[in-house]
């Protein structure tokens, strides 16, 4: 059988039928930025960091299937500038004070900021004041101020852990991470630190307690290497925990 090929940034790349652009690119060792995508979860298509141009039209690489002969642009100045703007919008929408965040250095959002040379958040800060911190659980802390609503935890809890602990409630600026328990507190849900949802957050919104500085700042996953150095982004961040 002849090998199936499509083109990434003008270079031919093999793929298997049924693969998404992100999966095929990753198999070929090509980095596609992403936040809501995780290899263990069903595609979500929410963050748009993975936006690529397919035969002249923008598509999400994490949901769009490859076809033979497709021309896909991934690493272009225009797309990278758009990605930088998306990262900036995510920063100003929450309270992202990296120096005070346990996740710093191992955070995928921050690492994408570095990747696209974000030097400032550019837009006016929202400084949301009504997002609750939930420290009720003995082993895990939730800081909603850093949640980017990627729904990785929602999908992991529902589809891998079989528990359905998380959901996104509300709309637009009022959207927030909701916890499925009588009180809305994590401690009163059946969540456990052994759940995959406890380890899947790309940012510092779900943090395992007593773990924060086990790896010193400056020696963390993306301190050493840019996020684009590896296609196995999520695995690296999780191992680093």
């Amino acid at each position: 059988m002849t090998e199936l090929l499509f083109n990434i940034d003008d270079l031919p790349v093999p793929f298997k039928p049924g693969q998404t652009i992100l999966e095929a690119a990753k198999a070929a060792g090509v980095f596609v930025p992403h936040l809501c995508h995780h290899p263990r979860l069903k595609p979500h298509g929410g963050c748009k960091l993975c936006t690529v141009v397919v035969n002249g039209r923008t598509q999400s690489a994490c949901t769009y299937k490859v076809a033979a002969g497709q021309e896909v642009d991934i690493d272009t100045p225009e797309l990278n500038a758009m990605r930088r703007s998306l990262v900036q919008l995510l920063f100003i929408e929450g309270n992202h004070f990296c120096p005070t965040c346990e996740k710093t250095g191992a955070c995928e959002l921050q690492a994408l900021g570095y990747e696209y040379e974000m030097l400032s958040p550019h837009f006016a800060e929202f400084y949301p004041a009504d997002r609750e911190v939930d420290a009720s659980h003995p082993d895990v802390l939730i800081d909603r101020n850093r949640c980017i609503m990627c729904e990785r935890c929602v999908r992991a809890s529902r589809d891998i852990d079989g528990k359905n602990v998380f959901g996104i409630a509300g709309r637009g600026g009022k959207a927030t991470l909701a916890i499925n328990s009588p009180t809305g507190k994590l401690a009163d849900s059946d969540f456990a630190v052994t759940d995959s949802a406890a380890h899947i957050c790309p940012v510092g919104a779900i943090l395992v307690k007593r773990n924060g500085f086990a790896t010193p700042i400056g020696e963390r996953a993306y301190d050493a290497h840019p996020i684009s150095d590896s296609v196995n982004v999520c695995e690296i961040a999780e191992e680093a925990k």
């Binding site: 309270n95 004070f97 990296c98 120096p99 040379e117 958040p121 400084y127 301190d223």
Partner: protein, 185 residues
């Protein structure tokens, strides 16, 4: 800058620095360029800065601003620097997004003052000496108050990052930080 046909000493850029609502960590980091301070002294002379103790800024080329804007005096100083400097650089996390001081932004300033200045008997004595700058409702990143030309992130940016960025600017290059030097923490 290197052209020196008449044997005159080369022109130096005039540099101002200030710390607004910051911790002086960025200024300490500037001193961390160590022996390169001599090289800097060959390239630049200081105007208003904690290093010179000059209190009012004159016309200058580059102003480095540490810290966000938390009170009326910060606004005044920032506007003075904007009026006098050709290039304003936001240095460090606080200047760029408010940083640690901005953790107070989720609280109302009235509630904070009430809490801080309430004595044991329950009476509130908020200082109102006109000499004291008034607190703003929240901490603002400096680019929300005046136009900022360049941003140098880090908490603080390392001496190496400051040196790279500053020498790029002084020598007329587009300032850039590679992965090792670019940090938000």
């Amino acid at each position: 800058m290197n052209a020196n046909p008449n044997g005159k000493p080369p022109l130096k850029v005039r540099l101002a620095t200030t710390s607004l609502a910051g911790c002086f960590g960025c200024h300490m980091s500037l001193l961390d360029i160590d022996e390169r301070l001599f090289e800097l002294a060959g390239l630049a002379e200081f105007d208003r800065s904690p290093f010179t103790d000059i209190k009012q800024c004159g016309p200058c080329d580059i102003a480095l601003i540490e810290g966000g804007v938390c009170n009326s005096e910060n606004v005044h100083v920032l506007r003075e620097l904007r009026a006098n400097a050709k290039i304003l650089v936001a240095v460090g996390a606080c200047a760029i997004n408010g940083g640690v001081p901005a953790l107070r932004n989720r609280l109302k300033i009235g509630d904070i003052l009430d809490k801080v200045y309430r004595d044991d008997s329950g009476e509130v004595h908020i200082p109102d000496d006109p000499e004291l700058p008034a607190s703003l409702d929240k901490i603002y990143p400096i680019n929300e108050i005046v136009r900022i030309d360049y941003f140098l992130p880090g908490c603080p940016p390392s001496g190496d990052a400051i040196w790279k960025y500053l020498t790029d600017l002084i020598l007329g290059r587009v300032p850039r930080l590679d992965h090792q030097l670019l940090h938000y923490d």
